[in-house]
């Protein structure tokens, strides 16, 4: 029997609380994905089980696709490290209205069926969040490059609003986003000329595949 004095006992208690908190911070198993997954990704929990972090989808994307895919790093959460995510700042996903439509090199490269074949009309990677304070159209009028480049009819529309700028009321045309119609391809995010970007691609509303087996 090991006898501990009070000081040592308290040390152990404090150390375990610290370790526990750290573990909780790093070893989260998310039910919903924080990152935007490639087209054909199965539901997140299953995805994390099936994905072997081989990086073949990322490689296929960079050679045959648009090059949007990259692997998650430690900042995305320890349990996600090595899994693929869509980075619209590198390039938009071309799975719909683009060169990967009906081809999906990332899905074809997946050896474990973490990514499975989906028909083009079923693809919805997520939706776009508008940070209006950064938006050129909202700040001073003009731009609307997001509306210009959007390939989906009705995902981005233009509306006229009146805002106060430097004590004067001015009419500006701003983009309006419809998250239900948006397919989350990220073309608008890629195109947004504001720095930092006024648009962020999120996994909100993503349509994930339920695996059959």
């Amino acid at each position: 029997m090991i006898r501990l004095n009070r000081r040592e006992f308290i040390k152990i208690i404090v150390a375990s609380v610290v370790m526990g908190t750290l573990a909780k911070l790093f070893f989260r198993l998310p039910k919903e994905s924080k990152v935007v997954r490639p087209p054909g990704a199965i539901v997140e929990e299953e995805f994390l089980n099936k994905c072997i972090r081989c990086g073949k989808c990322v490689a296929a994307c960079s050679t045959d696709g648009s090059g949007t895919l990259e692997t998650c790093g430690y900042l995305d959460g320890l349990s996600l490290v090595g899994t693929p995510k869509v980075n619209p700042i590198k390039a938009p996903c071309e799975a719909l209205f683009g060169k990967c439509e009906g081809v999906l090199p990332c899905v074809k490269a997946c050896p474990t069926k973490a990514l499975v074949w989906v028909e083009p009309h079923q693809i919805k990677l997520g939706s776009v969040e508008w940070i209006k304070e950064r938006c050129i159209a909202f700040r001073k009028g003009g731009c609307l490059v997001c509306y210009e480049t959007c390939p989906v009819d009705g995902a981005i529309s233009v509306k006229e609003i009146i805002v106060e700028r430097h004590g004067k009321f001015i009419k500006v045309k701003v983009p309006e986003f419809n998250p239900d119609v948006c397919i989350g391809c990220g073309r608008c995010v890629n195109a947004c000329p504001a720095a930092p970007k006024a648009l962020v691609l999120t996994s909100k509303g993503a349509r994930r595949v339920i695996p059959r087996d």
Binding site: K99, T149, A191
Partner: protein, 333 residues
Amino acid sequence: MNPPQRISRRDFIKMLIGGAAVAIGIGMVWHVWERLKRPAEIEILERKVKENVFVENGKPLVSIVRGKDVKKAVKVAVDLLGGINKLIKSDDVVLLKPNVGFSNIDAVTTPEVLAAVIEVVKEANPKKIVIAESAVRGRDTTFNFNATGIAKVAEKYEIELIDLKKSKNVVKVKTRGKLLKEISTYREIYDADVIISIPKLKRHVEAVTTISLKNMMGILPDSEKGLFHDLNLHQCIADLNTVFKPDLCIVDATHVMTVSGPGRGKMVKTNTILASGDPVAVDLIGSKIIFELEGLDKPLERAYNIPYLKEAAGLGVGVMEVDKIKLIEKELD
């Protein structure tokens, strides 16, 4: 052999701190060194803009030809100006700049129009013909070439098709503009002797209309296009055209995108081709046509109020008074 030397805790910590300090020191020196190494100075090039060769008694000519036969319409439109030989010499490199910003056929220059222009240009036997484009931000140019049939046309006539977004030869060129004193573009564009803008007649959400002047934005890297939108699109379009002014504009108005654009709009079939050596004049007439098709009142006045036209005319890119332009209209059967 000596027994392994034991170091005290104090020494061990000292060594750790010492090691870290050395590492940080090396890092800082490295950082400063990298900062001091200036990137190679990019030379700012100059470009001479040609005078409009398609004029009559000092008035720029604008031809409007209506006819279902696209090939014939393009040929007649250029001939009405005085013929392609007035512009192109045998040692010229000719750049064809269609609008292939999108992948849907409504929003791009019709391949038949591009083919007709190639046939007209080939008559003058230039040294080289190239087709170049950098699609709208967020869009893949090569995909657009393939999806719209532009790639097939280039293949058929064995003409080099350049996806500028894949090029790394960025150069800076001096402008005679107000806001932008220099512009980044590609070496492939700078090397061209003659620029032919082949836009589609379209509405534009921000620029009001997009015709031959706005079409020139497709010679820019994406970063430069972003800058245009952030600064002042209309002024920047005018500034760009002070140095990369098309020498000939052949406007595809076979199908016109009205009401909204540039990606999607209400398409109206008009079977028209416009041609001119003056981009401002042809854009004025083209804008007027769009407003007429939309049934708006005072179409000409609306066209006069388009900021990029006013700025471009002010910078001497072209003429925007309708009575200083000579219109030649022709109906083909």
